[in-house]
């Protein structure tokens, strides 16, 4: 299947999509997840290291995709590894992507029904959300990219505004001592941040749609760097305000930070609704792109029309989103996705890259 030439995106758009995919569910739980594993206020270092690793993985994937211009991972898999093994790996990627889509939707319902729409049945939230997203996806990648270009700057401005409001309750002592127990806790905190960095792998697919595939490395580095900076600010503000001990017991620590201050006199006294609104937009974009990636993979693997794949996956994702019985199972599901990502996104592309180089070398 040859990609439609008109459905192309610029380098900046590719970077924006990477950023939007990264900024998802993770940001609300990141401070707790990292603090649980590290146990010291140095978690921001863990996030920084995690971000560096994500960027490195992103570069590997971008280089890999660059050497197969115009093809997505699902397509060059086949030519590299043959029909069966390649197909199997593609299938793993596809399953991973729609599991991720299901996870995003479910996390969205959990938070909205707790803080925003108490009493609204979850199916009403999920279905409306999925339909709106489907409408966008039927237009192809270009409309998705253009919408994301509107969402990302809005998110950054509002998010930074809300986070910096938290300075009123920020205490530097909560972030100290730095490296008080050596470097080991920092390293322990790196792995749990994986879930927050899920999303770089989209470059495996995006490169095929880029006008200048040669610049895919640039796109993934910029896209990830934006997110790493936002994550760093989040972790520093949340731990600085609520402290490691205060964060450990909270389900959604980032929301709790915003719920912990009021600024009388401004037009808004409370900012959590504002944060939730942009967060829903972010989940929307993460969900859309992972769903789109899953459908595209399916259509390329089985040679079916993309639109029918988009429709066919709807009930599957809906059912996946309903599987976790409670929040604990949902978080375990998220951890599972994060761990899968480490192998799927960390190891396989590297192997594929070596294989590509080797094949090229033997040919030349």
């Amino acid at each position: 299947m040859i990609n439609n030439n008109t459905d192309q995106i610029t380098t900046a758009q590719a970077a924006v999509i990477v950023s939007n995919f990264l900024l998802g569910t993770g940001v609300l739980t990141l401070p707790r997840v990292a603090a649980e594993a590290a146990g010291t206020p140095d978690v921001w270092l863990s996030v920084l290291i995690g971000g560096m690793i994500a960027i490195a993985a992103g570069i590997i994937m971008a280089v890999l995709s660059k050497s197969h211009p115009g093809l997505t991972v699902f397509q060059y898999n086949k030519s590299l590894l043959g029909k069966w093994i390649g197909g199997l790996i593609s299938a793993a990627f596809i399953i991973y992507f729609f599991m991720l889509a299901g996870y995003q939707v479910r996390a969205l319902t959990e938070v909205t029904s707790l803080f925003l729409l108490e009493g609204t049945p979850s199916w009403a939230i999920i279905i409306a959300f999925m339909w709106v997203s489907l409408y966008l996806m039927t237009g192809g990648l270009n409309p998705i990219a253009r919408l994301f270009e509107i969402i990302l700057p809005l998110t950054i401005v509002i998010y930074l505004f809300v986070m910096f409001m938290g300075f009123s309750i920020f205490e530097l002592d909560n972030l100290r001592p730095v490296l008080g127990q050596g470097f080991m806790p920092v390293l322990a905190g790196v792995k749990p941040t994986a879930l927050s960095f899920i999303g770089v792998e989209i470059i495996l697919i995006l490169t095929a749609f880029m006008k200048q595939p040669a610049k895919s490395v640039k796109a993934v580095v910029y896209g990830t760097a934006i997110t790493v900076i936002l994550y760093l600010i989040t972790v520093i503000m949340v731990i600085g305000a609520l402290s490691v001990d205060g964060v450990l017991t909270r389900t959604w620590p980032t929301l709790d930070l915003v719920r912990s201050f009021e600024l009388p006199g401004l037009i808004f006294e409370r900012f959590e609704s504002l944060l939730l609104v942009i967060w829903i937009m972010q989940i929307y974009s993460s969900y859309t792109i992972s769903y789109y990636a899953a459908s595209l993979g399916l259509s390329q693997l089985l040679n079916i029309n993309l639109t029918s794949c988009l429709f066919a996956l709807l009930p599957v994702v809906y059912i996946i989103s309903n599987i976790p019985k409670n929040l604990d199972v949902l978080f375990a599901f998220g951890d599972l996705l994060g761990n899968t990502a480490i192998y799927l996104v960390g190891c396989i592309p590297f192997a594929l890259l070596l294989l590509t180089k080797w094949k090229k070398g033997s040919r030349g």
Binding site: G119, G180, D245
Partner: protein, 403 residues
């Protein structure tokens, strides 16, 4: 062809119009007029009000265990409306207090739905006042669990302690006052007096509860509809239960030691003239220095303050020169040392509770050592030698040049 196109068009317009009808409004809306917004909660030992006892006799099923009483302060919407129109209605109070006795806080709050037509919501809860006797037997984990867990109540809600009945602090004489708002307003006065401690909010409590560290809660007393912030209650880290009270002077000493003073008056007798003199503190900080020798820790607190002479009762008029100033500085410094000693003796020797934050300092400067002592920090703290000193500068003497 043209007709069918138009038909689809009309069909679409029709569909759009129909969909508009279901687009307005919200799925699970609650009208604000139909809600009871509670702004204050008082937790007391179980004691049924007369009304509750009467209702209890008539009710068909009332066999809850009687563990504690909860009083909710609900903002009276109607009187507020009237207040806006005609400058306060003298006949109705701006608030409504309702009490319930039972064993689960959320259950008692929900019970109120069987007594009032408007359901209570906690989005605007500002203050929780806990009775001292109740906190002696029940830990903060138990008393505050619901408030920390609930998704409506915000973590910036303030927690206070009352040495009398907590529900009395939520009562006011006049009809224009909402007592919970009055308490919040009083906490804002920290820049005027040294006898109010920084507000202790739920999110800060959560940290102390999880770290098992000791802390203070502002004490408030009430009589005849008037309230007064007086001293502080010390909560022990390990048990999270009430340990004892600090009186106003002891609290002042602790606040000075922790360097959290924002502004206020320190009065003392000028040693030279033997008359009362008042020093207005304008800036203050304190540094805790840790020194470790083997496993022996000691602390040194250096307090620094700037301020002015605001009242002087000495009669023999003369110019305020450097010598006089130095004399005043010395007298005030001595007074601060006395207050600090009083406060420190109480928390260190009697209550054995580190509410100043020596532990935090140690954890920052000696993280390895802290890991060893943190389990039994309050005990260790009680044996650690602490020295302190104060450096005071009088920068001005107000609009008077001489005594």
């Amino acid at each position: 062809m043209k007709i069918t196109f138009n038909r689809t068009k009309y069909l679409l317009i029709g569909l759009c119009t129909c969909s508009l009808l279901i687009q307005t409004g919200c799925w699970s809306k609650d009208e604000i007029e139909e809600l009871s917004i509670y702004v204050g909660v008082a937790l007391d030992q179980a004691k049924e009000t007369k009304l509750e006892a009467k209702l209890g006799k008539l009710a068909v099923n009332a066999n809850d265990r009687k563990l504690l009483s909860v009083t909710l302060q609900i903002v009276n919407k109607q009187s507020e409306e009237k207040g806006g129109n005609s400058a306060g209605d003298p006949a109705t109070k701006a608030y409504l207090n309702v009490s319930e006795t039972g064993d689960s806080i959320i259950d008692m709050i929900r019970q109120l739905s069987t007594r009032m037509e408007r359901p209570a919501i906690g989005h605007h809860l500002k203050v929780i006042v806990i009775n001292e006797q109740l906190a002696r037997h029940k830990s903060m984990y138990q008393l505050l669990d619901f408030f920390l867990r609930d998704n409506d109540i915000r973590p910036n809600c303030v927690v206070m302690m009352s040495s009398g009945l907590a529900k009395h602090t939520l009562e006011a004489k006049g009809n224009s006052i909402v007592p919970a708002f009055r308490l919040m307003g009083m906490l804002e006065n920290r820049y005027r007096t040294l006898k109010i401690m920084p507000r202790m909010t739920l999110y800060k409590l959560e940290k102390h509860m999880h770290a098992e560290s000791s802390y203070m809660l502002q004490n408030v007393v009430a009589a005849e509809g008037e309230v007064k912030l007086s001293g502080a209650a010390v909560i022990k880290g390990k048990t999270q239960k009430f340990r004892g009270l600090l009186n106003e002077e002891e609290l002042l000493g602790v606040i000075l030691l922790s360097g959290e003073a924002e502004g206020g008056i320190i009065k003392c007798v000028n040693e030279k003239t033997n008359e009362m003199i008042a020093y207005e503190l304008k800036a203050m900080n304190s540094e805790i220095y840790t020194s470790v020798d083997g496993d022996n820790v000691s602390f040194d607190v250096k307090m620094k303050s700037e301020g002015r002479i605001i009242e002087d009762w000495s009669e023999n008029s003369g110019p305020i020169d450097d010598a006089y100033r130095a004399g005043v500085e010395q007298s005030v410094e001595r007074e601060i040392m006395r207050l600090a000693k009083q406060g420190l003796d109480k928390i260190q020797k009697e209550y054995k509770a580190d509410v100043v934050g020596f532990g935090t300092r140690l954890s920052i400067e000696q993280p390895k050592l802290w890991q060893k002592v943190k389990k039994n920090w309050d005990q260790a703290f009680s044996r650690i030698p602490i020295t302190y000193s104060v450096e005071l500068t009088i920068t001005e003497t107000g609009t008077e040049k001489s005594q």
